[in-house]
């Protein structure tokens, strides 16, 4: 049984197939509207993530399937202290595929060990969130047309931002990628990302503090939220937060074809005035999230039925 627990559970070839399928869905979503009419997706959300659950549910409905599941409000009553292992054994007999969101890291992996249906990790603590990474990759592929020869800037909270860590890992598999890591001192990328991902592969990267000075060189700018609770004191937060807010003035320094990505929800790190800029693709990115999840569900259901789609 195939599961997707980490973004690297797909080989480069499989990832390519997934993204190609997703692009075909983008071109003609109707073609896939009856792909899996009798299949059920169970969404087991032990913590709330409205965006991710809606995106997965939309994906399954778009394929003609149906959905069932629970979300954190009723997670405790749904599981009644039951172990993840027991829950998944039961859910396996109700549904054909499932997606798990859990505050504890590794919970989806535990589920996959006991599941007879494919398990998709829909986010486990600060660990993995593969469908977000696939969404980011599809956005880059579709709008940039390539994964190599790119200078990619990450801005904001690079310390705790798992979407940043995963995307760096995923893009590191391609040629001639450069990273510009833009953050305050307090929120710099963890050293293990440098030691385990960047340095061993000799990937060029710069760590800088100013978005303004970094922005002209970027092909892609991946924005994240700078959360107040990450700072030791209010003054530091107030002093720094504006530095990492993207506005039209900073955008005037960027390349004409630079893309702005953001995993959403946004708070104030991208000024609303930027939304009308054609380079602001974060809402499109959210839409692509549904398509890539459709492709992923198709890939997993196809494999579990013994008829691979790629």
């Amino acid at each position: 049984m195939r599961h997707i627990i980490s973004p690297t559970d797909l080989t480069l070839k499989e990832l390519d197939d997934l993204l190609n399928l997703a692009e075909d869905i983008i071109k003609d979503p109707k073609k896939y509207s009856d792909a899996y009419p009798r299949k059920k997706l169970a969404t087991l959300f032990y913590e709330t993530s409205t965006r991710t659950s809606l995106s997965l549910e939309a994906a399954m409905l778009n394929l003609g399937g149906s959905i069932l599941g629970f979300s954190s409000g009723d997670a405790s009553s749904a599981s009644k202290g039951e172990s993840v292992a027991d829950t998944i054994r039961v859910i396996s007999s109700y549904a054909d595929i499932c997606a798990i969101r859990h505050p504890k890291e590794g919970a989806p992996y535990v589920a996959s060990l006991h599941s007879s249906i494919p398990v998709i990790n829909a986010g486990d603590g600060g660990h993995n969130h593969p469908t977000q990474t696939f969404t980011d990759l599809l956005t880059i592929k579709n709008l940039k047309g390539r994964f190599d020869n790119l200078t990619v800037g990450f801005c904001g909270d690079l310390k705790f931002g798992r979407t940043v860590h995963s995307l760096i890992g995923a893009l590191s598999r391609y040629n001639n990628i450069k990273f510009v890591l833009i953050s305050p001192e307090e929120l710099k990328i963890p050293s293990y990302i440098k030691e385990q991902v960047l340095d061993p592969q000799n990937i060029p990267y710069k760590e800088v503090k100013s978005l303004e000075s970094a922005i002209p060189s970027l092909d892609i700018l991946y924005m994240t939220r700078v959360q107040k609770e990450r700072f030791f004191n209010e003054e530091d937060y107030i002093r720094l937060k504006d530095t990492y807010i993207l506005n039209t003035r900073k955008m005037s320094l960027a390349k004409e074809d630079m893309l702005i990505l953001h995993p959403l929800p946004r708070v104030n790190e991208i000024a609303v005035e930027v939304d009308d800029d054609p380079r602001a693709v974060y809402f499109k990115q959210a839409q692509f999230g549904v398509y890539v999840r459709m492709a992923l569900i198709m890939l997993l259901l196809g494999e579990s039925e013994g008829r691979p789609i790629c």
Partner: protein
């Protein structure tokens, strides 16, 4: 009586990182096995500055000493027979160990559910094991070695 200098028949676990001897003692459950044990803490070492040593007079049946490599990959194990070292080896690090190391990541599923604490060897050189659930390194938090 155990002669700390020379063993007749037994095992010397040498080059233990300072402070690690009691953990290995606990892991091997030496307290409950009928053998004589000497623990030498903070001994001088040319190679490491300071080290711990455990000397065990007697035999440890059915214990895979390679597993100790997961606790401390720099140790050497000397097998003594008739007062002579007949074998000197570094543990061969197992690819996986179950319930030897304990994950100390408070956000890990192992902190709330009873699943085996499984670790995978990810860096042979440095002897780094990572939790199979959350990928936390066994070395990233000090004092991860616990008998569980």
């Amino acid at each position: 009586m155990l002669n700390i200098g020379v063993l007749n028949q037994g095992i010397v676990i040498d080059h233990i990182k300072v402070g690690g001897a009691m953990k290995i003692y606990t892991y091997l459950n030496l307290e409950n096995i009928d053998v004589s044990v000497a623990i030498i803490k903070n001994a001088r070492s040319n190679k490491m500055g300071r080290k711990d040593i455990i000397k065990i007079e007697g035999t440890l049946n059915g214990i895979n000493l390679d597993i100790l490599g997961a606790l401390d990959h720099k140790i050497t194990i000397n097998i003594i027979e008739n007062g002579e070292i007949i074998a000197k080896k570094n543990p061969k690090l197992p690819d996986y160990v179950d319930n030897v190391l304990k994950c100390k990541n408070p956000r890990c599923i192992t902190s709330v559910e009873s699943v085996p604490h499984s670790f995978k060897l990810t860096d042979k050189e440095k002897g780094i094991y990572r939790c199979v659930y959350c990928e936390q390194s066994s070395k990233s938090v000090p004092d991860t070695i616990t008998k569980i």
